[in-house]
């Protein structure tokens, strides 16, 4: 059952600290989350300092969008960085009731990598091949399926002309190295690693595609509109800070990744993929409309649904 920290609309008081349950992934495309989490770890939390005393941020790590959305819907999470597609999917599946987009976060940093041995040169070579995506229904998965569909292939959830397989990122790399996978549509740093460690070739870069956004549960924006507004502002500031001081941001990202995955990411690798990402808090509604079209075309969504309440943070927050 969802936890109620206070009665709806009640202001945060010092007596009862408000806990914001905040989610992100251990991915470089979630640089905002990594940086802020790392700062919380160091005792100088970015959000804590900007949301005022009595607000506590608890960080939770998810590996994939759908499970983060699941947590948001079941009330285990208030705010999270996530890919646009799972957010959109959750919004539409809940008939527009439960999910609100607060801001954009990252563009780019995703792409389609194929084996470097030349077995795939153009879209029609994909027939009968195996392509991995990080998770069914996530942003890259939808992009991949839609792209293949545009190339004229028939794809279903469980098969089709091209096998699109949801496979976790580390497994993707191993399978790609063994040659079991013919292509992978994924995010940084895996795109770079596939290129550098497995002789992969970036076939379709997505420099401009929305990769990460900041979403909150509708319950949160409704019950704590003020807090939601402050949080969005803090996120904007964070974005500006990341863009302004990339070296510090990269240091925090590497430290946080080491803390969370217990594996060091080389500075070299991070430098390689950093320029492929654009950090911006702007939201483009037309992108979401495009996503809906794609999701419909690959069969993940049946009805277009209502998007008016999805990206209206100002309206929600203002009320």
């Amino acid at each position: 059952a969802p936890k109620d920290d206070a009665a709806p609309g009640a202001p945060a008081t010092a007596a009862a600290p408000v806990v914001i349950r905040f989610g992100h992934f251990p991915n470089v495309t979630h640089a905002h989350g990594l940086v802020a989490h790392s700062l919380t770890r160091e005792g100088r939390g970015w959000f804590e300092e900007r949301l005022g005393p009595g607000v506590k941020v608890e960080w939770f790590i998810y590996n994939a969008g759908p499970s983060a959305m699941e947590a948001l819907l079941s009330g285990s999470l208030d705010v999270t960085y996530v890919g646009p597609n799972p957010a959109l999917n959750a919004h539409l599946k809940s008939k527009g009731e439960d999910v609100r987009v607060l801001a954009g976060a990252t563009l780019g940093g995703a792409g389609l990598v194929v084996q470097g041995d030349g077995r795939i040169k153009e879209p029609r070579d994909f027939r009968g091949k195996k392509v991995a995506t990080p998770q069914l229904g996530n942003t890259q998965d939808v992009a991949c399926r839609a792209w293949l569909k545009d190339a004229g292939f028939e794809i279903t959830q469980t098969g089709g002309d091209v096998s699109v397989l949801a496979t976790q990122n580390p497994d993707q790399l191993a399978l790609f190295q063994k040659g079991d996978l013919d292509a992978v549509w994924t995010v940084e740093p895996w795109v770079s690693r596939l290129e550098r460690e497995a002789n992969g070739k970036l076939l379709v870069p997505e420099p401009d595609a929305m990769t990460t956004i900041l979403v909150a549960s509708a319950k949160f924006t409704k019950e704590r509109p003020e807090l939601a507004r402050k949080l969005t502002d803090a996120h904007r500031a964070l974005t500006e800070w990341i863009v302004a001081t990339p070296a510090d941001a990269k240091r925090l990202v590497r430290a946080e990744l080491l803390a969370e995955t217990r594996q060091e990411m080389s500075a070299d690798l991070l430098d390689h993929c950093w320029p492929r990402m654009t950090f911006t808090s702007a939201i483009r509604l037309e992108d979401f409309t495009a996503f809906v079209k794609k999701a419909q075309s690959v069969g993940y969504l049946r009805d277009a649904g209502e998007l008016s309440r999805l990206v209206a943070p100002g309206k929600d927050v203002a009320r």
Binding site: A64, P66, M69, E70, L73, S74, P86, N89, A90, K93, S94, K95, E97, D98, K130, Q135, L136, G137, N138, T156, Q157, T158, G159, S163, L165, A166, T167, D171, L175, K178, D180, Y300
Partner: protein
């Protein structure tokens, strides 16, 4: 006439209550999909063949893994019941592995076999064979010695005794072990399919998992329904008749 009526009313009431709850809007449709949505998913998935394809993949895995499990468990059980040195060694190993939920093998299976059919089969075999080994051991040990004595006085020896006395005499116990083995195999395959992507085909568990990933709870509930039907069918078509036959024939309750 009255009994079917009560049951019909009950199930209709259950559906109606579910429908009303879903329609009440108290819960988001993600948390509680409406029965009609589930039905419409089933119709669509049946029409586009994805359900049948997934059921086939799952069924094949289960059948092959289960047969392999029997192929491993039966001879092992014969060995451990016959030789004390085997029951002190292999028997102990089997007992330990029997209490190990076979999903625990998934990580190792993925490493050893990769994301292939082999990994799935390995998990199913690990779920099946120890139950069958233990039941075979039990069944052979619990044969009343009088059967063998009687057979011997009538001139039965060696292989004839095995085929005409030991096998049929231990059948009731072995059968119940095979049923338990099946239950474990079914459960471990579902667990493995739900949580692990396999390059060689998507089964019912995968379909359920995809439903979860897409937050399509109508799909999740629809696939659960199909899983119940498949499970009941295996029970009603394979095991119940076999058990009934044994019970009728042997006059036992085992």
């Amino acid at each position: 006439m009255k009994r079917p009526l009560i049951a019909a009313v009950f199930f209709a009431g259950l559906l109606a209550a579910w429908h009303l709850l879903a329609a009440s809007g108290r819960w988001s449709p993600v948390l509680l999909p409406a029965p009609l949505d589930v039905a419409s998913y089933l119709v669509r998935a049946a029409a586009d063949g994805s359900l049948a394809a997934a059921a086939l993949v799952t069924g094949r895995r289960l059948a092959v893994g289960y047969l392999l499990g029997i192929g491993l468990g039966l001879p092992l059980g014969c060995l451990t019941s016959r030789f004390r040195s085997c029951s002190d060694t292999l028997g102990v190993v089997a007992l330990g592995l029997q209490t190990l939920p076979s999903v625990c093998w998934v990580p190792l299976a993925l490493l050893w076999f990769g994301q292939t059919e082999g990994a799935m089969l390995f998990v199913v075999v690990m779920g099946t064979s120890w139950s069958i080994q233990i039941a075979t051991d039990d069944g052979l040990r619990s044969i009343p010695p009088i059967y063998q004595r009687a057979a011997r006085t009538m001139g039965s020896r060696g292989l004839h005794t095995v085929l005409h006395v030991l096998v049929p005499a231990s059948l009731p116990v072995v059968l119940s072990g095979m049923k338990q083995g099946w239950a474990f195999a079914w459960r471990s395959l579902m667990a493995a399919e739900i949580f692990v992507t396999i390059l060689s085909g998507s089964g019912l568990g995968h379909l359920l998992h995809y439903g979860r990933e897409l937050l399509a709870m109508d799909q999740v509930l629809g696939v659960m329904f199909v899983i119940v039907v498949v499970g009941l069918a295996a029970d009603k078509i394979v095991f119940s008749p076999a058990e009934r036959w044994v019970r009728r024939r042997w006059g036992t309750d085992a």
